[in-house]
C-alpha cells in the first residue's frame, strides 16, 4: 500500500527512573483506522502525547511523509497535520461551541490595530461543520457544557478535521459513553477515514476497536507486542495480548467468558 503519513520508529521515553516506553514502533496510513490497544498503564497516553508533541521522546525517530521531524510543542505537531482529540477533550464547558471550535485559531479580519474576530464567518462555518457531523445546535452561542459526551467528542473531531488534520489521534473517545453515543462516535470515525484521513484510535475496548479498525497494535508494559491486520486476528486474541495472557485467561474461565 501507500507509504505511511506518520511513522514512529523505536520510540523510548523515560520519566526519571521510570521507563514509560521501551521501544514502540507504530505507523498510520491515509484513510485507515489504526487501533492502538493496551490496558491501563501500558503507555498508550505517553505514546500519543509523544506523537502529538506534548512529550519529547528520549530516543527513537519520528518520520512524517518520509522526512524525520522533532516536535518542540503541540503547535508544531498541529502544523504538521497531527491533531489530537484528548480524553478530556480540550473543550471549555463555559464557552460557546463557536468559541471552542476556533480556540487557538480564531479567524480575524481588518487591519491592525482594528483587527477583530470574524464572528460571522466563525459561526457559519461551525454551524455547517456541525450539521455535516449530524449535530443540530440550538444556536452557535450554545455553551459546550450543555452538550452530551458524544456530541462533545464530535465537536472536537469536527474541529480537528476542519483544520486540515492528516492524522487524527483519538484518545479513548468511547470510554465514557453510552451505547448509542458510542455508535455515533464510531460512525464519525468511519466518516473521517473515508475522507482520506489517517485515524489513530486508542482504546482498551476490543469490541469498539474491531468495529472500525483496519489494523491493530497492542501495547503492553511500554512495548509493542506486534501489529495485526483486520481478518488475521480475533477479539479474544487481542484481549489476551492486552492483558498479558495468563491471569486473564484464568479469570475469564471462572467468569464464564464474559469479559
Amino acid at each position: 500500500m501507500t507509504t505511511p503519513i506518520v511513522e514512529m520508529r523505536n520510540i523510548k521515553k523515560n520519566f526519571g527512573h521510570v521507563i514509560a516506553l521501551n521501544g514502540v514502533s507504530f505507523d498510520v496510513k491515509a484513510g485507515e483506522c489504526h487501533c492502538l490497544l493496551g490496558d491501563n498503564g501500558a503507555g498508550k497516553s505517553t505514546f500519543i502525547k509523544t506523537m502529538s508533541g506534548v512529550h519529547r521522546p528520549s530516543s527513537g525517530t519520528m518520520v512524517i511523509e518520509g522526512k524525520p521531524v522533532t516536535f518542540e510543542s503541540p503547535r508544531d505537531a498541529m502544523g504538521a497535520g497531527i491533531a489530537t482529540v484528548y480524553q478530556d477533550l480540550a473543550m471549555i464547558p463555559l464557552m460557546s461551541v463557536v468559541r471552542n471550535f476556533w480556540m487557538g485559531r480564531e479567524p480575524e479580519k481588518g487591519i491592525w490595530p482594528f483587527r477583530n474576530l470574524d464572528m460571522k464567518k466563525a459561526e457559519e462555518v461551525t454551524m455547517s461543520e456541525m450539521k455535516k457531523m449530524g449535530i443540530n445546535l440550538r444556536g452557535p452561542d450554545q455553551a459546550v457544557g450543555t452538550l452530551s459526551g458524544g456530541e462533545r467528542q464530535t465537536v472536537a473531531i469536527a474541529r480537528a478535521v476542519y483544520f486540515g488534520a492528516k492524522v487524527l489521534i483519538l484518545d479513548e473517545p468511547t470510554s465514557a459513553l453510552g451505547v448509542r453515543q458510542t455508535a455515533n462516535v464510531l460512525g464519525t470515525i468511519d466518516r473521517v477515514r473515508k475522507q482520506g484521513i489517517g485515524v489513530v484510535f486508542i482504546t482498551h475496548n476490543v469490541r469498539h476497536a474491531m468495529a472500525v479498525g483496519d489494523r491493530f497494535t497492542v501495547l503492553n508494559r511500554g512495548q509493542t507486542l506486534g501489529t495485526a491486520t483486520k481478518g488475521d486476528v480475533d477479539a479474544a486474541r487481542l484481549q489476551d495480548m492486552m492483558a498479558g495472557g495468563q491471569e486473564l485467561a484464568e479469570l475469564e474461565s471462572s467468569l464464564g467468558g464474559t469479559i
Binding site: 510543542s73 503541540p74 480540550a90 473543550m91 471549555i92 483587527r115 474576530l117 443540530n136
Partner: protein
C-alpha cells in the same frame, strides 16, 4: 438510520424562553443592580443634591476610580487569576513617582513613564511566579500585597522622612504628560452650560460666576476608555478568546495551542497598569503621594467584578458588568453620604450585595453548563 435521526430535530432539546436566554448574560446582575440603586437613591436622596451637577460629578468620579481597577481585575479574573496586590501597587506607584520627581529631581513625565514601566514589570513578575510555580495567584499576590506596601513605607521614609510626599503639584504645572492624568476636558462646554444657566455657578468668592463643575476629569476619561478597550479586547479579538480559554481550562487551552502563560502574564501586567493609572490620576489630583493610598482597593475591585457577573473560578465574565459593578459601588458609597445615612452601613451593604451576587452567579453558571 442515523441520517433519519439527525434530520429531525432532537425532541429532547428543550426550547429556551427568551426570558431565560436574557438571564444567561454575565451583565444581568449588574444591570438590575444599577437600576435598583438609582431608584433607591432617587427615592431617599432625590432632593439632597445628589442628582445635581456637583452631586453627579461626585459619584461619577468615585465610580470611575473603581472602574479603572475593576477593568484590570476583571480581565485577570476571567483569565483565571487574582491580583491582591492592586491596592499596594497603587500606593507603591504613587510613591515611586513622587520620590523620582520631587526628591530625585526627574522631570515629571520621565517619572510617570518610568513608574508605568517599573510597575508593569512587577506585574509581570507576579504573573511569571504564578505561571512557573503553579501556586495559586491568591498566595503569590498576597505576598506582594505586603512586600509592596512595606517597600512603599520604607522608601518614603528613607528618602523623605515622611509618609506623605508633597510638591508634585508644582512640578505638574509645566509638565506635558501630567494633564493626561490630572487635567479636565470639555471645560469650555461646562462654562457655557454655567452661563446658560443649565448648571449652578459659584455666587461668591474668587471663582464667582464659574460653574460648580468646570469639566470632566481625565480620571473619568481613562475609566471609560479602559472599559471600552477592555470590552472590545475581550469580546471582539482573538486575544480575548484566549483570555476566556486560559481561565476556563488552562490545560485544554494549551492542547489547542493557546499561549496560556503569555496570556496570564500579560493580564497581570495589565492589572498593574490599571493600578498605576489610578495612582497617577490620584497623585495629580492631590498634588501629593501617600504611602497608605489604595488600602483594600484590591478587594473593592474584586467585588465590582463579581457584582458584574464574573465567576471567581475564571473563564466567564464581562467588562461591562464590572463597570456597572463599579457604578453601583460608587453610587451607594456616595449616596449614603447624601442621604445622611450612617456611613458604616456602607460595609453592611457591601457584604450583602457581594453575597447576593455570588449566589446569583452560581445559579447562572448552572444554567449555562446544564449542571444540576
Amino acid at each position: 438510520m442515523t441520517e433519519a435521526v439527525q434530520a429531525q430535530k432532537d425532541e429532547r432539546v428543550k426550547t429556551v424562553s427568551p426570558w431565560r436566554r436574557a438571564l444567561i448574560r454575565p451583565e444581568l446582575g449588574g444591570i438590575c443592580g444599577t437600576i435598583l440603586v438609582f431608584l433607591l437613591f432617587g427615592a431617599i436622596a432625590g432632593d439632597s443634591g445628589m442628582f445635581k451637577a456637583e452631586g453627579i460629578m461626585n459619584w461619577t468620579v468615585v465610580s470611575a476610580q473603581f472602574m479603572i481597577i475593576a477593568v484590570g481585575a476583571c480581565l485577570l479574573m476571567i483569565a483565571g487569576e487574582f491580583d491582591l496586590s492592586t491596592g499596594s501597587m497603587i500606593g507603591f506607584s504613587g510613591t515611586v513617582m513622587a520620590i523620582l520627581s520631587v526628591h530625585m529631581g526627574w522631570p515629571l513625565w520621565a517619572a510617570i513613564l518610568f513608574t508605568f514601566g517599573f510597575c508593569m514589570l512587577i506585574g509581570a513578575l507576579n504573573g511569571w511566579l504564578v505561571v512557573k510555580t503553579g501556586l495559586p495567584s491568591f498566595i503569590v499576590t498576597l505576598a506582594f500585597l505586603f512586600i509592596l506596601r512595606g517597600l512603599t513605607i520604607w522608601g518614603s521614609v528613607y528618602f523623605t522622612r515622611q509618609t506623605i510626599i508633597g510638591g508634585v503639584g508644582e512640578k505638574a504645572q509645566s509638565d506635558w504628560l501630567a494633564p493626561v492624568f490630572g487635567g479636565k476636558i470639555l471645560t469650555g462646554f461646562f462654562t457655557w452650560m454655567g452661563e446658560a444657566g443649565w448648571i449652578a455657578t459659584f455666587t461668591r468668592g474668587s471663582r464667582a460666576g464659574q460653574p460648580v463643575v468646570d469639566g470632566i476629569p481625565m480620571l473619568v476619561v481613562w475609566a471609560l476608555a479602559l472599559v471600552i478597550l477592555g470590552h472590545l479586547l475581550l469580546t471582539r479579538t482573538r486575544f480575548g478568546n484566549w483570555i476566556f480559554a486560559a481561565g476556563g481550562d488552562a490545560q485544554a487551552a494549551r492542547y489547542v495551542g493557546v499561549p496560556v502563560n503569555r496570556v496570564k502574564i500579560s493580564m497581570f501586567m495589565f492589572s498593574a497598569f490599571c493600578a498605576t493609572v489610578f495612582a497617577t490620576c490620584q497623585v495629580m489630583e492631590f498634588g501629593s503621594a501617600a504611602a497608605d493610598r489604595g488600602m483594600l482597593k484590591e478587594f473593592e475591585a474584586i467585588i465590582c467584578v463579581v457584582i458584574g457577573g464574573a465567576l471567581l473560578t475564571g473563564g466567564y465574565g464581562s467588562v461591562i458588568g464590572a463597570a456597572l459593578g463599579a457604578v453601583i459601588f460608587g453610587v451607594v458609597q456616595q449616596g449614603l453620604f447624601f442621604a445622611n445615612a450612617e456611613s458604616s452601613l456602607f460595609r453592611v451593604f457591601l457584604g450583602a450585595i457581594l453575597l447576593v451576587a455570588v449566589i446569583m452567579n452560581t445559579y447562572i453558571r448552572r444554567i449555562i453548563t446544564g449542571e444540576r
